[in-house]
């Protein structure tokens, strides 16, 4: 066989039925799965934080700052999977320099910047400003210098100015809630607006993405709160933990209902794409959709958390259940993103065939790179917790 056809024939071995040439290789791999996953964690964590601030759910106080710092740590990394997916990552800034109003991705750049600069950084700064000023006076060395820079020169600690911190912070949180909805609803819109792809193209996509984001963000804060408290050898605030789990349960119901609605709608409409989508979910996506996403990631946590709403076993059992549920939900939502991103590219738009996705270990689209982007936010969070420890702040405000 001539060498120019060798590669084609190798690729065709991963194809079943008829497929267009540009569909054989998946263009969006694991890194693009991570992009909506990480962005969702940010939006979810922020919405949990805003419950305490705007809706006055005082019992969540111990996790308020932790949720904000978690959102920041993950937001700083949210675009990295996208950038590292590019063939020319150093040209990524061009999307911000010459944005086109018809490009959903270009506008995302500005939605992201708005959320980072105007919402999250400001809210954290205003919330910590008083503490940063105090810490800048008490601390020396590198950390002290860092605090001095972070005060941005506003060292006024008069009650009037501190009240302003609170007022502006409250206002920003109010603006922040629709912004968080926009940030993640928008990620859903990017997929939902691809009209050529029947697996993606649904107006429910932004809403489904948003609710699954809230589910994953709340589960992440639950997980991090338990791990951080364990590391600090402190007693867990069970009232806070019970409340977070209760919110997780409610939002999980909504999320599951919406996704179910989407699927029932597809099944009832049974458009011309239905047959291939049915083959898709019963074939290549069976494990990741039915087992990972629905059974492990949704039904088991839903039933476990549901039982805990009616019957409260002793603390240790509850803690183990919450911890397992948070991990299962995080696992399930990851595979929800996987099923959307990878699933949408596995079938041919001719509706007559399938291709396969092979995850590589190394390389720019490989598992190792993806792990870097998953681990990095935890390292950033570690740094943020070292710099702006919420517990120190709590001690001071209560003393």
């Amino acid at each position: 066989m001539e060498p120019q056809y060798q590669h084609l024939y190798e690729m065709l071995s991963q194809v079943r039925g008829f497929i267009y040439p540009n569909e054989v290789d998946l263009q969006w791999g694991l890194l693009i799965v991570l992009y909506p996953y990480i962005t969702g964690l940010v939006a979810g964590a922020f919405i949990l934080a805003s419950l305490e601030r705007v809706f006055n759910v005082k019992v969540l106080k111990p996790t308020y700052q932790l949720a904000l710092l978690t959102a920041l740590a993950f937001l700083l990394v949210a675009t990295m999977p996208l950038v590292s997916h590019l063939g020319h990552p150093f040209r990524a800034y061009e999307i911000l320099m010459t944005p086109h109003s018809t490009s959903a991705m270009a506008i995302f750049g500005f939605v992201y910047l708005w959320y980072l600069m105007v919402v999250l950084l400001l809210e954290i700064w205003l919330d910590y400003r008083r503490d940063i000023v105090i810490w800048s006076q008490q601390t020396t060395g590198f950390k002290g210098r860092l605090y001095k820079i972070l005060t941005l020169g506003v060292k006024d600690l008069s009650p009037r100015t501190v009240r302003w911190d609170d007022k502006i912070g409250y206002f920003i949180t109010v603006v922040g809630i629709p912004s968080a909805f926009l940030l993640h609803g928008y990620v859903g819109f990017i997929f939902g607006s691809v009209k050529a792809n029947p697996w993606w193209s649904t107006v429910l996509m932004p809403v489904i993405f948003l609710f699954s984001a809230m589910v994953s963000g709340i589960a992440l804060v639950l997980f991090i709160y338990m791990v951080v408290t364990w590391f600090r050898r402190q007693k867990i605030d069970m009232a806070a933990l019970d409340s977070i789990a209760k919110f997780l349960f409610y939002i999980l119901i909504l999320d599951f209902t919406l996704e179910g609605l989407d699927q029932i709608h597809r099944i009832y409409e049974a458009e011309e794409s239905f047959e291939i989508l049915s083959l898709l979910v019963h074939g290549p996506l069976f494990l990741t959709l039915f087992i990972f996403q629905i059974l492990l990631g949704t039904l088991i946590p839903l039933i476990s958390l549901g039982i805990l709403q009616l019957y409260k076993p002793k603390e240790l059992t509850r803690r183990i259940i919450y911890f397992s549920c948070s991990l299962l939900v995080l696992f399930g939502i990851f595979f929800m993103r996987w099923n959307v991103v990878i699933g949408g590219q596995l079938f041919s738009k001719s509706f007559y065939g399938f291709t396969d996705y092979k995850l590589r270990l190394a390389g720019s689209e490989g598992l190792l790179w993806a792990l870097v982007w998953v681990i990095l936010p935890f390292l950033i969070l570690g740094f943020l917790l070292w710099l702006l420890p919420p517990w120190k702040k709590l001690e001071e405000s209560t003393s």
Partner: protein, 149 residues
Amino acid sequence: MPPQLKTLIPLFGAFIVLFLIARHFLVPVSFGELGHYRFNSIAENKEKAMNYAGKDACADCHDDKAAQLKSDVHSGLSCETCHGPGQAHTENPETVKLNKPDQRSFCGNCHSMNASRPKFMVQIELKEHNPDKKCIECHNPHQPWQLKE
């Protein structure tokens, strides 16, 4: 005005100004001249070497083959589909020779049995249909249905 805003507003103003300055330097020259693209890219693309000559260029010299091709079912194919890019050949016909594929597997790229191919494409089992012969021993690729003796 609260002291926080006195600091934050100029800071955000400075950020926007810095962004606009960066944009001034980073947007490529000629971007947006005639649309949402870099206008100079057209000239740069024009300067690139041509690889394909097109069917008409082939017919200038090989009018007999072009007529044969036109008369039969392969009339929709371009010459360069089978023979490869021919620009270099049109410039130096004596020194640069094009590929004349004659392997069974080459014809099989389009004509081997595959249920998902459109029905109008003639399909055969390569292993069963005269397996010891080359396709072109019987079929003239320019006139596939004019069978050779």
